[in-house]
């Protein structure tokens, strides 16, 4: 059932900008404000956010993780570090990672 909801109404996760819009909604932003915020940071339109072809190009150009792994491309923590910078937010696991390796990114 979860997959049907995702297909029928979800943003699309890392296939699109769903993970980033979700991060802003999780901070208490209503969905339209969250989409506008992320679109502004990505330099695209709100319409583009759920377009998987458009977002693949954007995600690859920003190196913030895509569904299909590529050599030398960021994934996991590396991608999240860039997402935190891009969206200008603090991601708890990124902060923890920075503390562990003793650097200020």
């Amino acid at each position: 059932m979860a997959i049907m909801h995702e297909m029928a109404a979800g943003m699309g996760g890392i296939r699109t900008a769903g993970d980033m819009v979700a991060r802003m909604v999780m901070k208490g932003m209503k969905i339209h404000a969250a989409k506008e915020y992320v679109a502004g940071k990505l330099g695209c339109s709100v319409f583009d956010l759920s377009d998987s072809a458009k977002m693949k190009e954007i995600r690859e150009s920003l190196d913030i993780g895509t569904v299909v792994l590529r050599p030398r491309a960021s994934s996991g923590m590396a991608a999240k570090i860039k997402i935190a910078e891009l969206l200008d937010i603090k991601i708890p696991s990124v902060e923890l990672f920075k503390k562990k390796i003793g650097i200020s990114l």
Binding site: M1, A2, I3, M4, H5, E6, M7, A8, A9, G10, M11, G12, G13, I14, R15, T16, G18, D19, V21, A22, R23, V25, M26, K27, G28, M29, K30, I31, A34, V46, F47, S50, I64, G65, V67, S75, G76, M77, A79, K80, I83, I89, K90, I91, P92, S93, E95, L96, F97
Partner: protein, 353 residues
């Protein structure tokens, strides 16, 4: 094509397939709205929304979806139970997270344990914290940790407190109230402890799921824990999903920030939850399995629309088995779940699911 003869395939609240005319579906929709208006004091849907809901219910397609641009974000309760435990796939829960991220493209996911109760997690919280740390290294999407307050677990013989469900039939009302207050305090402390360990292991968020399952004291415990955690960890996202469409008054007199909890429907619940520092709220409207899908979805939508109308935080309605208009069956028909998705976002104005 049966729909061309004013005969539309739909379902009952237990999932059984039935055929109804448009007039019958309209009558069911109006009756569902009326129930929410009468019991929950919600405003009725506008005529345009009613027409659009009937259009969604009578679309001939097997599955439907939202219009481009109307998408919302998806969250999960019992997240990593669904694949590794309930579906019996022999995979670790952190593998389930990656499957959701990379194959199913979920917007968020939730790490959780089989005994989905905060009290039961105390003995294994550091193992759960290690799983969270490993998951955070590999995942890009936000990962919640989730469980239920499940305050009933604090009663004897499993817990230290007298059982109010036994005290109340004996007429020991004050003793029952006292027992609930003690249990709520213990429950709050456990949720703050476990939430803190997971927050310090890098969880993006904490979910308090099925809050209020043991009544108003259960909800109070979750609200108090949320308030403490939201102040202690400003970057931690807290989400709260409810147990019921109204808060059961097992105690009856408990208040949070001056507001009595018992009897609150979604439009009041969302304000209470926001006052506790919670970032997003999941209303629950229970499915009546002996009523039609049209009746159930219309009733759920009316409650949700009332909540989104007054909400200052995102509203992510629960649309799982037996809630949010979805039939009460473990194999939810996709024709119903996709119609509920579409209606919740486009008519209910929800921020996601």
């Amino acid at each position: 094509m049966n729909h061309l003869k004013d005969n539309y395939f739909t379902r009952m609240g237990d999932g059984e397939g039935i055929w109804m005319s448009k007039t019958q579906i309209t009558e069911e929709v109006l009756a569902g709205i009326e129930d929410a208006v009468n019991k929950g004091k919600a405003q009725p849907m506008s005529g345009g929304d009613v027409d659009y809901l009937i259009e969604i219910l009578t679309m001939p397609e097997k599955n439907v979806s939202v219009e481009r641009g109307c998408e919302g974000i998806t969250t999960f309760d019992a997240g990593t139970l669904k694949m590794a435990v309930r579906s019996g796939l022999p995979i670790d829960s952190t593998t389930a997270l990656l499957i959701h991220e990379r194959a199913l493209c979920s917007d968020t996911m939730e790490l959780c344990n089989t005994d989905y109760s905060y009290k039961q997690l105390k003995n294994i919280v550091y193992e759960e914290a290690m799983a969270m740390e490993r998951a955070q290294m590999n995942c890009i999407m936000p990962i919640f940790y989730g469980a239920m307050p499940n305050m009933g677990l604090y009663t004897k013989p499993d817990g230290p407190v007298d059982n109010w469900s036994e005290l109340l039939p004996q007429g020991k009302v004050l003793e029952a109230m006292d027992a609930q207050e003690k249990a709520a305090e213990l429950c709050t402390n456990d949720m703050v402890y476990i939430g803190s360990v997971l927050a310090e292991s890098g969880a993006c968020g904490i979910q308090f799921d099925t809050a209020g399952a043991s009544g108003d004291a259960d909800l109070l415990a979750a609200l108090q824990a949320s308030k403490i955690l939201s102040e202690k960890y400003p970057d931690l996202s807290i989400t709260m999903g409810m147990a019921n469409e109204f808060t059961l008054g097992m105690h009856g007199k408990l208040k949070f920030e001056g507001e009595r909890l018992a009897g609150q429907y979604p439009a009041k619940q969302v304000k209470t939850v926001a006052a506790a520092g919670v970032h997003s709220y999941g209303p629950v409207v229970n499915t009546n399995s002996s009523k039609s899908f049209a009746w159930n979805l219309a009733r759920s939508l009316t409650h949700v629309q009332e909540a989104t109308r007054v909400a200052s935080i995102p509203v992510l309605p629960n649309v799982g088995m037996g809630v949010g208009g979805i039939p009460l069956t473990t194999t939810s028909p996709t024709d119903c779940s996709t119609r509920a998705s579409k209606a919740m976002l486009e008519i209910g104005k929800a921020d996601g699911l």
